[in-house]
Symmetry: C2
Subunit: 213 residues, 2 copies
DNA sequence: TTGCTAAACGGAAAGCAATTCCGTATACTA
DNA sequence: TAGTATACGGAATTGCTTTCCGTTTAGCAA
């Protein structure tokens, strides 16, 4: 779970001067670890209540720590946002593998995409941050793909092999396309997103039979 | 062109001589109008250079006015953003009618969608604002649709009539779907957006022949 | 257990950008 | 040409992020 280390650094390089095994950055003190967890919990709650722009103070209070502590672990407000999102990405990836094991290839693909859609729908404001242009979020899309890409990749591969879906679409493209389609627009809700995703899936089915056999 | 009046009010009504009836807003003073124009120009430039988060001061300086003046015409920073976007929406709508007059229905539809895609691509940060959840932008999607909906509606209608596209998709859905797909993701450029839009169009073609005749 | 020290804490203060206020300047009208 | 509503500029206010630093504490060794 990447989120836990925050971006305080804990840079992988241990610069081995002490002769010990490289990359042993010294373990986090227990209270620090506890506070990081509290902060992530609090942040998730605050983002849900007050949106991504919830003041740092509000989050710190909710977590029962001072703002100084918040900034010790998450040097920039955006680092907290990133950590929270990464946590949820991990959860989604895990759910995917379970789902793929219990369904037919084509069904598994569609089901997972809809599940993914719902997952994104709960993000709302968080997803917006992704597109804010703030360099602080530059790493997120990468993490997104790194984590979910392989999962969707297998689903896709299986569905193509069974002839239900045409080849030629990359996991990355599909991942991002659905993410974008799931952004909240106007007064429409999740229903809109799902309609659009369904349309995209039809696009994938278009011409699939030509490749069969 | 809605942008010019800013949100200071100045509702469309004009006329009304001296002892006029209720709601004669009184025309804008010439220097005020000039400053509003300068501000819109400056804002567009600043957004391009420093992103949507360009400081108000920067924009005011660029326009050669004080921040007080900026806030007089655009009470909230977001009002400026809205005005700039509306301007560009209008331009896109106009281009659409021209295009639709010079092409076959199906071609016109596809061409316009790609043109629309490119238009959105230049917005980048601005588009992100749309999804920020800030209530200040609530009116934008409405304007977006009000202006572009009818245009895309005609294109769509014609393409459906010619049997190239299946019925059942609303202009609104398509408009928003493409807008979302055009959001910048990761390191991909416009090419990505266009690939996805093409996929969506294929989705529309899927099953079209079944409805023919 | 006790003592020591690096690590972590909390919250006051500093830094910044958005927004408001208000005295001054100016475009219109009579 | 004078009078007045409008508009102007920029200093002051406000609210939030981020930094700083004296105080507290977990983890370790004697």
């Amino acid at each position: 779970m990447a989120g836990n280390t925050a971006s305080t650094g804990v840079d992988s390089a241990g610069s081995a001067t002490s002769g010990g095994p490289v990359g042993a950055p010294r373990r986090l003190r227990s209270d620090a670890q506890r506070n990081i967890d509290s902060l992530l919990e609090a942040a998730k709650a605050a983002f849900g209540t007050s949106g991504v722009d919830a003041p740092a103070k509000e989050i710190a209070d909710l977590a029962g720590v001072g703002v100084g502590t918040l900034y010790r672990h998450f040097p920039q407000r955006s680092d907290l946002v990133v950590a929270v999102i990464q946590r949820d990405i991990d959860a989604c990836a895990d759910a995917a593998s379970t789902l793929s094991a219990a369904n037919e290839p084509g069904v598994a693909l569609a089901k997972w995409l809809f599940r993914y859609t719902e997952f994104l729908a709960t993000k709302r404001g968080l997803a917006a941050a992704l597109h804010s242009g703030d360099p602080a979020f530059d790493a997120l899309p990468g993490y997104f793909f790194e984590r979910l890409g392989p999962v969707l990749g297998s689903l896709l591969e299986a569905a193509i092999a069974s002839g239900e879906i045409r080849a030629g679409i990359s996991p990355k493209d599909l991942l991002y396309a659905v993410a974008n389609l799931s952004l909240p627009v106007a007064d429409e809700g999740v229903a809109y997103s799902q309609r659009m995703v369904a349309l995209l899936i039809d696009g994938l089915r278009y011409g699939a039979e030509l490749q069969r056999s």
